[in-house]
Amino acid sequence: MISIRNLTFSRGERKIFDNISLDIMPHKITAIMGPSGAGKTTLLKLIGGQLSPDSGVIMVDGKNIHQLSRPQLYTLRKKMGMLFQSGALLSDMSVFDNIAFPIREHTQLPESLIRTVVLLKLNAVGLRGARDLMPSELSGGMARRVAMARAIALDPEMIMYDEPFTGQDPISLGVLVSLIATLNKTLHLTSIIVSHDVQETASIADYIYVLSHGKIAGQGTPKELADSDSEWVQQFMHGKADGPVPFHYPSDSLTADLFTY
Protein backbone atom coordinates (compact mmCIF):
# COMPACT_ATOMS: atom_id res chain seq x y z
CA MET A 1 0.00 0.00 0.00
CA ILE A 2 2.78 2.42 0.99
CA SER A 3 6.40 2.13 0.05
CA ILE A 4 9.04 4.58 1.23
CA ARG A 5 12.46 4.46 -0.37
CA ASN A 6 15.61 6.37 0.62
CA LEU A 7 13.68 9.13 2.36
CA THR A 8 15.70 12.08 3.61
CA PHE A 9 14.06 15.07 5.26
CA SER A 10 15.56 17.93 7.24
CA ARG A 11 14.25 20.88 9.22
CA GLY A 12 16.90 23.58 9.08
CA GLU A 13 20.19 21.98 10.05
CA ARG A 14 18.53 19.03 11.75
CA LYS A 15 18.15 15.81 9.76
CA ILE A 16 14.83 14.22 10.74
CA PHE A 17 15.12 11.22 8.37
CA ASP A 18 18.40 10.02 6.98
CA ASN A 19 17.89 7.74 3.99
CA ILE A 20 15.23 5.47 5.47
CA SER A 21 13.17 2.87 3.62
CA LEU A 22 10.08 1.08 4.89
CA ASP A 23 6.91 -0.61 3.69
CA ILE A 24 3.37 -0.46 5.02
CA MET A 25 1.53 -3.68 4.26
CA PRO A 26 -2.10 -3.53 3.12
CA HIS A 27 -4.84 -4.51 5.60
CA LYS A 28 -2.37 -4.65 8.48
CA ILE A 29 -1.73 -2.38 11.45
CA THR A 30 1.78 -0.96 11.18
CA ALA A 31 3.17 1.05 14.07
CA ILE A 32 5.82 3.72 13.77
CA MET A 33 7.35 4.17 17.20
CA GLY A 34 10.14 6.18 18.67
CA PRO A 35 10.92 8.75 21.32
CA SER A 36 9.45 12.27 21.20
CA GLY A 37 11.03 14.32 18.44
CA ALA A 38 11.95 11.26 16.36
CA GLY A 39 9.86 12.58 13.46
CA LYS A 40 6.89 10.24 13.71
CA THR A 41 4.24 12.87 12.99
CA THR A 42 6.47 14.33 10.26
CA LEU A 43 6.45 10.92 8.59
CA LEU A 44 2.64 10.94 8.51
CA LYS A 45 2.66 14.43 6.99
CA LEU A 46 5.12 13.23 4.34
CA ILE A 47 2.90 10.24 3.53
CA GLY A 48 -0.14 12.54 3.35
CA GLY A 49 1.66 14.91 0.99
CA GLN A 50 1.54 17.84 3.44
CA LEU A 51 5.34 17.98 3.46
CA SER A 52 7.83 17.25 0.69
CA PRO A 53 11.00 15.21 1.26
CA ASP A 54 14.49 16.51 0.48
CA SER A 55 15.07 13.29 -1.45
CA GLY A 56 13.55 9.86 -1.77
CA VAL A 57 10.25 8.51 -2.96
CA ILE A 58 6.97 7.84 -1.17
CA MET A 59 4.60 5.66 -3.16
CA VAL A 60 1.02 5.54 -1.93
CA ASP A 61 -1.34 3.18 -3.72
CA GLY A 62 1.18 2.94 -6.57
CA LYS A 63 1.54 6.71 -7.00
CA ASN A 64 4.48 8.93 -6.13
CA ILE A 65 2.56 11.29 -3.84
CA HIS A 66 4.94 14.21 -4.29
CA GLN A 67 4.62 14.23 -8.07
CA LEU A 68 0.85 14.47 -8.10
CA SER A 69 -0.99 17.63 -9.11
CA ARG A 70 -3.21 19.20 -6.44
CA PRO A 71 -6.45 17.67 -7.81
CA GLN A 72 -4.75 14.25 -8.06
CA LEU A 73 -3.43 14.62 -4.51
CA TYR A 74 -6.90 15.52 -3.24
CA THR A 75 -8.38 12.50 -5.07
CA LEU A 76 -5.82 10.24 -3.38
CA ARG A 77 -6.47 11.85 0.02
CA LYS A 78 -10.11 10.80 -0.21
CA LYS A 79 -8.76 7.26 0.18
CA MET A 80 -6.85 8.28 3.33
CA GLY A 81 -8.27 9.04 6.74
CA MET A 82 -6.21 10.75 9.35
CA LEU A 83 -6.72 11.04 13.07
CA PHE A 84 -4.85 14.01 14.46
CA GLN A 85 -3.47 14.10 17.98
CA SER A 86 -5.78 16.99 18.88
CA GLY A 87 -8.75 15.50 17.05
CA ALA A 88 -8.77 18.55 14.74
CA LEU A 89 -12.56 18.76 14.90
CA LEU A 90 -14.00 21.95 13.44
CA SER A 91 -14.90 23.91 16.54
CA ASP A 92 -17.90 25.76 15.08
CA MET A 93 -19.73 22.57 14.02
CA SER A 94 -21.56 19.96 16.07
CA VAL A 95 -20.35 16.36 16.24
CA PHE A 96 -22.91 15.40 13.58
CA ASP A 97 -21.88 18.19 11.20
CA ASN A 98 -18.18 17.43 11.68
CA ILE A 99 -18.72 13.90 10.37
CA ALA A 100 -21.18 14.97 7.69
CA PHE A 101 -18.75 17.68 6.51
CA PRO A 102 -16.48 15.56 4.24
CA ILE A 103 -19.49 13.62 2.94
CA ARG A 104 -21.35 16.82 2.05
CA GLU A 105 -18.26 18.27 0.39
CA HIS A 106 -17.33 15.21 -1.68
CA THR A 107 -20.60 13.53 -2.53
CA GLN A 108 -24.01 14.50 -3.87
CA LEU A 109 -25.85 12.27 -1.41
CA PRO A 110 -29.27 13.48 -0.22
CA GLU A 111 -29.39 14.77 3.36
CA SER A 112 -31.49 11.79 4.51
CA LEU A 113 -28.79 9.37 3.37
CA ILE A 114 -26.02 11.51 4.87
CA ARG A 115 -27.87 11.31 8.20
CA THR A 116 -27.95 7.53 8.01
CA VAL A 117 -24.23 7.32 7.13
CA VAL A 118 -23.24 9.73 9.93
CA LEU A 119 -25.30 7.87 12.53
CA LEU A 120 -23.78 4.55 11.47
CA LYS A 121 -20.25 5.97 11.71
CA LEU A 122 -21.02 7.45 15.13
CA ASN A 123 -22.52 4.15 16.21
CA ALA A 124 -19.28 2.41 15.25
CA VAL A 125 -17.38 4.57 17.75
CA GLY A 126 -20.13 4.41 20.37
CA LEU A 127 -21.10 8.08 20.21
CA ARG A 128 -24.41 8.09 18.36
CA GLY A 129 -25.97 9.71 21.41
CA ALA A 130 -23.45 12.56 21.36
CA ARG A 131 -24.32 13.76 17.86
CA ASP A 132 -25.69 17.13 18.95
CA LEU A 133 -22.77 18.05 21.22
CA MET A 134 -20.22 20.68 20.23
CA PRO A 135 -16.49 19.74 20.20
CA SER A 136 -15.93 21.93 23.29
CA GLU A 137 -18.35 19.70 25.22
CA LEU A 138 -16.41 16.50 24.50
CA SER A 139 -13.73 14.87 26.64
CA GLY A 140 -10.34 14.20 25.02
CA GLY A 141 -11.19 10.54 24.46
CA MET A 142 -14.61 11.34 22.99
CA ALA A 143 -13.07 13.96 20.66
CA ARG A 144 -10.69 11.33 19.30
CA ARG A 145 -13.50 8.88 18.77
CA VAL A 146 -15.50 11.51 16.87
CA ALA A 147 -12.39 12.29 14.84
CA MET A 148 -12.11 8.57 14.16
CA ALA A 149 -15.71 8.48 12.92
CA ARG A 150 -14.91 11.45 10.67
CA ALA A 151 -11.75 9.77 9.40
CA ILE A 152 -13.81 6.76 8.23
CA ALA A 153 -16.66 8.92 6.90
CA LEU A 154 -15.64 8.51 3.27
CA ASP A 155 -14.80 4.80 3.70
CA PRO A 156 -11.06 5.25 3.16
CA GLU A 157 -8.68 2.43 2.29
CA MET A 158 -6.10 3.51 4.81
CA ILE A 159 -6.09 5.45 8.05
CA MET A 160 -3.26 7.19 9.87
CA TYR A 161 -3.39 7.67 13.64
CA ASP A 162 -1.18 10.37 15.12
CA GLU A 163 -0.50 9.58 18.80
CA PRO A 164 -4.00 8.23 19.42
CA PHE A 165 -3.28 7.14 23.01
CA THR A 166 -1.51 10.22 24.39
CA GLY A 167 -3.14 11.77 27.47
CA GLN A 168 -6.01 9.28 27.73
CA ASP A 169 -7.46 7.82 30.91
CA PRO A 170 -7.33 3.99 31.17
CA ILE A 171 -10.94 3.48 30.04
CA SER A 172 -10.64 5.78 27.00
CA LEU A 173 -7.32 4.13 26.23
CA GLY A 174 -8.91 0.67 26.24
CA VAL A 175 -11.77 1.92 24.04
CA LEU A 176 -9.38 3.48 21.50
CA VAL A 177 -7.13 0.41 21.33
CA SER A 178 -10.10 -1.86 20.78
CA LEU A 179 -11.68 0.53 18.22
CA ILE A 180 -8.53 0.76 16.10
CA ALA A 181 -8.22 -3.02 16.01
CA THR A 182 -11.92 -3.53 15.30
CA LEU A 183 -12.13 -0.90 12.56
CA ASN A 184 -9.03 -2.29 10.88
CA LYS A 185 -10.46 -5.79 10.87
CA THR A 186 -14.05 -5.04 9.90
CA LEU A 187 -13.34 -2.38 7.27
CA HIS A 188 -10.19 -4.09 5.89
CA LEU A 189 -8.23 -0.92 6.38
CA THR A 190 -4.53 -0.35 6.20
CA SER A 191 -3.65 1.34 9.47
CA ILE A 192 -0.57 3.28 10.49
CA ILE A 193 -0.23 4.17 14.15
CA VAL A 194 2.34 6.69 15.21
CA SER A 195 2.89 6.39 18.94
CA HIS A 196 5.30 6.10 21.79
CA ASP A 197 2.89 4.15 23.98
CA VAL A 198 4.62 0.80 23.70
CA GLN A 199 2.23 -1.56 25.49
CA GLU A 200 -0.96 -0.36 23.83
CA THR A 201 0.54 -0.15 20.35
CA ALA A 202 2.33 -3.47 20.56
CA SER A 203 -0.90 -5.15 21.65
CA ILE A 204 -2.62 -4.45 18.30
CA ALA A 205 0.21 -3.84 15.78
CA ASP A 206 1.13 -6.46 13.21
CA TYR A 207 4.48 -4.88 12.49
CA ILE A 208 6.51 -2.16 14.20
CA TYR A 209 9.21 0.21 13.01
CA VAL A 210 11.20 1.96 15.73
CA LEU A 211 12.76 5.27 14.70
CA SER A 212 15.70 6.97 16.34
CA HIS A 213 18.04 9.73 15.23
CA GLY A 214 16.68 9.72 11.69
CA LYS A 215 17.22 5.99 11.18
CA ILE A 216 15.20 2.83 11.67
CA ALA A 217 16.62 1.45 14.91
CA GLY A 218 14.58 -1.73 14.81
CA GLN A 219 11.71 -3.42 13.02
CA GLY A 220 9.69 -6.58 13.29
CA THR A 221 6.59 -8.04 14.87
CA PRO A 222 5.95 -6.96 18.48
CA LYS A 223 7.38 -10.28 19.69
CA GLU A 224 10.49 -9.98 17.55
CA LEU A 225 11.13 -6.48 18.88
CA ALA A 226 10.55 -7.52 22.48
CA ASP A 227 13.28 -10.15 21.99
CA SER A 228 15.55 -7.84 20.00
CA ASP A 229 19.32 -7.97 20.56
CA SER A 230 19.60 -4.19 20.23
CA GLU A 231 20.13 -2.53 23.62
CA TRP A 232 18.48 0.63 22.35
CA VAL A 233 15.34 -1.23 21.21
CA GLN A 234 15.28 -3.11 24.52
CA GLN A 235 15.47 0.15 26.46
CA PHE A 236 12.68 1.71 24.39
CA MET A 237 10.34 -1.30 24.37
CA HIS A 238 10.72 -1.91 28.10
CA GLY A 239 10.88 1.75 29.14
CA LYS A 240 14.16 1.47 31.05
CA ALA A 241 15.33 4.74 32.61
CA ASP A 242 18.98 4.24 31.75
CA GLY A 243 20.79 2.54 28.90
CA PRO A 244 22.08 3.62 25.49
CA VAL A 245 19.88 6.69 25.96
CA PRO A 246 21.43 7.98 29.21
CA PHE A 247 19.35 9.25 32.12
CA HIS A 248 21.61 12.30 32.42
CA TYR A 249 21.81 14.98 29.76
CA PRO A 250 25.50 15.14 28.68
CA SER A 251 27.49 17.21 31.19
CA ASP A 252 30.71 17.30 33.23
CA SER A 253 30.88 14.97 36.22
CA LEU A 254 28.89 16.02 39.28
CA THR A 255 32.11 16.35 41.33
CA ALA A 256 33.67 18.63 38.76
CA ASP A 257 30.49 20.71 38.59
CA LEU A 258 30.12 21.05 42.35
CA PHE A 259 33.74 21.75 43.32
CA THR A 260 35.08 23.87 40.47
CA TYR A 261 32.84 26.88 41.11
Binding site: Q50, G81, Q85, A88, F101, R150
Partner: protein, 259 residues
Protein backbone atom coordinates in the same frame (compact mmCIF):
# COMPACT_ATOMS: atom_id res chain seq x y z
CA UNK B 1 29.92 42.43 9.30
CA UNK B 2 27.46 41.51 12.01
CA UNK B 3 25.25 44.46 11.08
CA UNK B 4 25.34 43.41 7.42
CA UNK B 5 24.42 39.86 8.36
CA UNK B 6 21.43 41.06 10.38
CA UNK B 7 20.38 43.41 7.57
CA UNK B 8 20.68 40.65 4.97
CA UNK B 9 18.85 38.15 7.15
CA UNK B 10 16.02 40.59 7.89
CA UNK B 11 15.69 41.58 4.22
CA UNK B 12 15.60 37.97 3.04
CA UNK B 13 13.08 37.06 5.74
CA UNK B 14 10.84 40.01 4.80
CA UNK B 15 11.04 39.18 1.09
CA UNK B 16 10.23 35.54 1.78
CA UNK B 17 7.21 36.63 3.83
CA UNK B 18 6.07 39.00 1.10
CA UNK B 19 6.39 36.13 -1.38
CA UNK B 20 4.31 33.84 0.84
CA UNK B 21 1.72 36.61 1.32
CA UNK B 22 1.51 37.16 -2.46
CA UNK B 23 1.03 33.45 -3.15
CA UNK B 24 -1.58 33.37 -0.40
CA UNK B 25 -3.42 36.28 -2.02
CA UNK B 26 -3.19 34.63 -5.44
CA UNK B 27 -4.65 31.41 -4.06
CA UNK B 28 -7.56 33.36 -2.54
CA UNK B 29 -8.23 35.03 -5.89
CA UNK B 30 -8.32 31.70 -7.73
CA UNK B 31 -11.05 30.29 -5.47
CA UNK B 32 -13.09 33.47 -4.96
CA UNK B 33 -15.84 32.53 -7.47
CA UNK B 34 -16.51 29.42 -5.36
CA UNK B 35 -17.66 31.65 -2.47
CA UNK B 36 -20.51 33.03 -4.57
CA UNK B 37 -21.73 29.48 -5.08
CA UNK B 38 -21.81 28.96 -1.30
CA UNK B 39 -23.70 32.10 -0.10
CA UNK B 40 -24.34 30.57 3.35
CA UNK B 41 -20.61 30.60 4.12
CA UNK B 42 -20.37 34.23 3.04
CA UNK B 43 -23.43 35.39 4.98
CA UNK B 44 -22.14 33.73 8.16
CA UNK B 45 -18.84 35.58 7.81
CA UNK B 46 -20.47 38.92 6.96
CA UNK B 47 -22.36 38.53 10.22
CA UNK B 48 -19.26 37.77 12.25
CA UNK B 49 -16.99 40.33 10.55
CA UNK B 50 -19.44 43.10 9.66
CA UNK B 51 -22.59 42.93 11.76
CA UNK B 52 -20.70 42.34 15.00
CA UNK B 53 -18.67 45.51 14.30
CA UNK B 54 -21.90 47.48 13.84
CA UNK B 55 -22.22 49.05 17.31
CA UNK B 56 -18.55 49.95 17.54
CA UNK B 57 -18.81 51.81 14.23
CA UNK B 58 -22.13 53.49 15.07
CA UNK B 59 -21.00 54.76 18.47
CA UNK B 60 -17.56 55.85 17.21
CA UNK B 61 -19.05 57.61 14.18
CA UNK B 62 -21.53 59.48 16.32
CA UNK B 63 -18.90 60.61 18.83
CA UNK B 64 -16.33 61.59 16.19
CA UNK B 65 -19.05 63.62 14.40
CA UNK B 66 -20.06 65.33 17.64
CA UNK B 67 -16.44 66.28 18.36
CA UNK B 68 -15.98 67.68 14.83
CA UNK B 69 -19.22 69.63 15.31
CA UNK B 70 -17.92 71.20 18.53
CA UNK B 71 -14.43 71.91 17.19
CA UNK B 72 -15.88 73.19 13.92
CA UNK B 73 -18.16 75.72 15.55
CA UNK B 74 -15.36 77.04 17.79
CA UNK B 75 -12.93 77.36 14.87
CA UNK B 76 -15.36 78.67 12.25
CA UNK B 77 -17.02 81.19 14.56
CA UNK B 78 -13.66 83.04 14.75
CA UNK B 79 -14.23 83.92 11.09
CA UNK B 80 -18.00 84.19 11.38
CA UNK B 81 -18.29 81.15 9.13
CA UNK B 82 -20.15 78.72 11.40
CA UNK B 83 -22.81 78.40 8.68
CA UNK B 84 -20.23 76.33 6.78
CA UNK B 85 -20.09 73.74 9.56
CA UNK B 86 -22.01 71.23 7.44
CA UNK B 87 -19.34 71.33 4.73
CA UNK B 88 -16.54 70.91 7.25
CA UNK B 89 -18.21 67.97 9.02
CA UNK B 90 -19.26 66.18 5.84
CA UNK B 91 -16.03 66.73 3.90
CA UNK B 92 -13.77 65.61 6.71
CA UNK B 93 -15.92 62.55 7.40
CA UNK B 94 -16.70 61.41 3.87
CA UNK B 95 -13.24 62.02 2.45
CA UNK B 96 -10.99 61.09 5.38
CA UNK B 97 -12.27 60.19 8.81
CA UNK B 98 -15.04 57.85 7.64
CA UNK B 99 -12.81 55.52 5.63
CA UNK B 100 -9.69 55.88 7.81
CA UNK B 101 -11.13 55.69 11.34
CA UNK B 102 -13.60 52.94 10.45
CA UNK B 103 -10.71 51.01 8.84
CA UNK B 104 -8.57 51.41 11.97
CA UNK B 105 -11.48 50.30 14.16
CA UNK B 106 -12.25 47.42 11.80
CA UNK B 107 -8.61 46.28 11.94
CA UNK B 108 -8.75 46.30 15.74
CA UNK B 109 -12.14 44.60 16.05
CA UNK B 110 -12.53 42.26 13.07
CA UNK B 111 -8.93 41.98 11.78
CA UNK B 112 -7.51 40.83 15.11
CA UNK B 113 -10.41 38.39 15.55
CA UNK B 114 -9.77 36.92 12.08
CA UNK B 115 -6.06 36.45 12.79
CA UNK B 116 -6.72 34.83 16.16
CA UNK B 117 -9.39 32.56 14.70
CA UNK B 118 -7.28 31.34 11.78
CA UNK B 119 -4.18 31.05 13.98
CA UNK B 120 -6.09 28.94 16.48
CA UNK B 121 -7.49 26.76 13.70
CA UNK B 122 -3.91 26.21 12.56
CA UNK B 123 -2.71 25.44 16.10
CA UNK B 124 -5.50 22.93 16.68
CA UNK B 125 -4.73 21.30 13.30
CA UNK B 126 -8.18 22.12 11.91
CA UNK B 127 -6.64 23.48 8.70
CA UNK B 128 -4.38 20.42 8.30
CA UNK B 129 -7.38 18.24 9.07
CA UNK B 130 -9.33 19.82 6.22
CA UNK B 131 -6.43 19.36 3.83
CA UNK B 132 -6.26 15.69 4.74
CA UNK B 133 -10.01 15.43 4.05
CA UNK B 134 -9.20 16.76 0.57
CA UNK B 135 -10.98 20.06 1.33
CA UNK B 136 -9.05 23.20 0.48
CA UNK B 137 -9.04 25.46 3.58
CA UNK B 138 -8.35 28.50 1.38
CA UNK B 139 -11.59 27.82 -0.43
CA UNK B 140 -13.70 26.94 2.56
CA UNK B 141 -12.26 29.03 5.39
CA UNK B 142 -10.14 31.88 4.03
CA UNK B 143 -11.95 33.10 0.89
CA UNK B 144 -15.39 33.64 2.53
CA UNK B 145 -13.74 35.68 5.31
CA UNK B 146 -11.77 37.72 2.79
CA UNK B 147 -14.88 38.55 0.79
CA UNK B 148 -16.88 39.30 3.95
CA UNK B 149 -14.27 41.89 5.00
CA UNK B 150 -14.26 43.31 1.49
CA UNK B 151 -18.03 43.77 1.53
CA UNK B 152 -18.44 44.86 5.16
CA UNK B 153 -15.91 47.65 5.58
CA UNK B 154 -17.13 50.01 2.81
CA UNK B 155 -20.67 49.70 4.22
CA UNK B 156 -19.42 50.30 7.76
CA UNK B 157 -17.44 53.34 6.56
CA UNK B 158 -20.59 54.79 4.97
CA UNK B 159 -22.44 54.15 8.19
CA UNK B 160 -19.64 55.83 10.16
CA UNK B 161 -19.78 58.94 7.97
CA UNK B 162 -23.59 59.11 8.12
CA UNK B 163 -23.66 58.81 11.88
CA UNK B 164 -20.81 61.33 12.09
CA UNK B 165 -22.83 63.86 10.10
CA UNK B 166 -25.72 63.26 12.47
CA UNK B 167 -23.33 63.73 15.44
CA UNK B 168 -22.14 67.03 13.95
CA UNK B 169 -25.77 68.08 13.69
CA UNK B 170 -26.41 67.19 17.34
CA UNK B 171 -23.57 69.32 18.70
CA UNK B 172 -23.44 72.05 16.04
CA UNK B 173 -27.12 72.63 15.36
CA UNK B 174 -28.94 71.32 18.44
CA UNK B 175 -26.46 72.40 21.12
CA UNK B 176 -24.60 75.36 19.66
CA UNK B 177 -27.48 76.68 17.53
CA UNK B 178 -25.88 76.76 14.08
CA UNK B 179 -28.66 77.25 11.56
CA UNK B 180 -30.02 73.85 10.51
CA UNK B 181 -30.83 75.06 6.99
CA UNK B 182 -27.26 76.24 6.41
CA UNK B 183 -25.86 73.01 7.86
CA UNK B 184 -27.74 70.80 5.41
CA UNK B 185 -27.94 73.01 2.30
CA UNK B 186 -24.27 74.03 2.31
CA UNK B 187 -23.32 70.41 2.80
CA UNK B 188 -25.55 69.37 -0.09
CA UNK B 189 -24.16 72.00 -2.45
CA UNK B 190 -20.48 71.55 -1.58
CA UNK B 191 -20.18 67.77 -1.34
CA UNK B 192 -19.81 66.16 -4.74
CA UNK B 193 -21.07 62.62 -5.18
CA UNK B 194 -18.17 61.40 -7.34
CA UNK B 195 -15.30 63.51 -5.98
CA UNK B 196 -16.13 63.03 -2.32
CA UNK B 197 -18.46 60.10 -1.69
CA UNK B 198 -17.23 57.75 -4.41
CA UNK B 199 -13.59 58.53 -3.62
CA UNK B 200 -14.28 57.80 0.06
CA UNK B 201 -15.86 54.47 -0.90
CA UNK B 202 -12.88 53.62 -3.12
CA UNK B 203 -10.58 54.31 -0.18
CA UNK B 204 -12.53 52.04 2.13
CA UNK B 205 -12.60 49.27 -0.51
CA UNK B 206 -8.81 49.44 -0.71
CA UNK B 207 -8.50 49.48 3.09
CA UNK B 208 -10.84 46.47 3.28
CA UNK B 209 -8.60 44.58 0.85
CA UNK B 210 -5.48 45.47 2.86
CA UNK B 211 -6.92 44.58 6.28
CA UNK B 212 -8.50 41.31 5.15
CA UNK B 213 -5.30 40.24 3.40
CA UNK B 214 -3.04 41.12 6.34
CA UNK B 215 -5.35 39.63 8.99
CA UNK B 216 -5.93 36.34 7.18
CA UNK B 217 -2.32 35.93 6.11
CA UNK B 218 -0.96 36.64 9.59
CA UNK B 219 -3.29 33.99 11.03
CA UNK B 220 -2.41 31.48 8.31
CA UNK B 221 1.32 32.16 8.66
CA UNK B 222 1.33 32.31 12.49
CA UNK B 223 3.55 30.00 14.51
CA UNK B 224 1.17 27.37 15.88
CA UNK B 225 1.70 28.32 19.53
CA UNK B 226 -0.11 30.68 21.89
CA UNK B 227 2.81 33.13 21.71
CA UNK B 228 2.77 32.84 17.90
CA UNK B 229 -0.94 33.72 17.71
CA UNK B 230 -0.46 36.60 20.12
CA UNK B 231 2.37 38.05 18.01
CA UNK B 232 0.41 37.53 14.79
CA UNK B 233 -2.62 39.35 16.22
CA UNK B 234 -0.45 42.27 17.27
CA UNK B 235 1.19 42.37 13.83
CA UNK B 236 -2.25 42.47 12.17
CA UNK B 237 -3.31 45.56 14.10
CA UNK B 238 0.04 47.37 13.81
CA UNK B 239 0.71 46.53 10.14
CA UNK B 240 -2.89 47.28 9.15
CA UNK B 241 -2.68 50.68 10.85
CA UNK B 242 0.57 51.56 9.07
CA UNK B 243 -0.76 50.31 5.73
CA UNK B 244 -4.04 52.22 6.13
CA UNK B 245 -2.24 55.49 6.92
CA UNK B 246 0.27 55.03 4.10
CA UNK B 247 -2.36 54.16 1.50
CA UNK B 248 -4.57 56.99 2.74
CA UNK B 249 -1.80 59.47 2.04
CA UNK B 250 -1.15 57.90 -1.36
CA UNK B 251 -4.81 57.80 -2.35
CA UNK B 252 -5.47 61.33 -1.09
CA UNK B 253 -2.53 62.59 -3.15
CA UNK B 254 -3.89 60.80 -6.24
CA UNK B 255 -7.53 61.79 -5.71
CA UNK B 256 -7.19 65.32 -4.41
CA UNK B 257 -3.57 66.27 -5.09
CA UNK B 258 -4.16 67.82 -8.51
CA UNK B 259 -7.02 70.11 -7.44
Amino acid sequence: MNFLQVLGHTTLKSLAKLGRASLFFYSIMTVLPYVFMRPKLLIKQIFSVGVLSFWLIIISGLFVGMVIGLQGVYTLSTYGAEASLGIMVAASLVRELGPVVSALLFAGRAGSALTAEIGLMKTTEQLSGMEMMAIDPIKYIIAPRFLAGFISLPLLALLFSSLGILGGHITGVELLHVDAGSYWTQMQSAIDFYDDIVNGIIKSIIFAWIISWIALFEGYDALPTSAGISRATTRTVVNSAFAILFFDLLLTAIMFGST
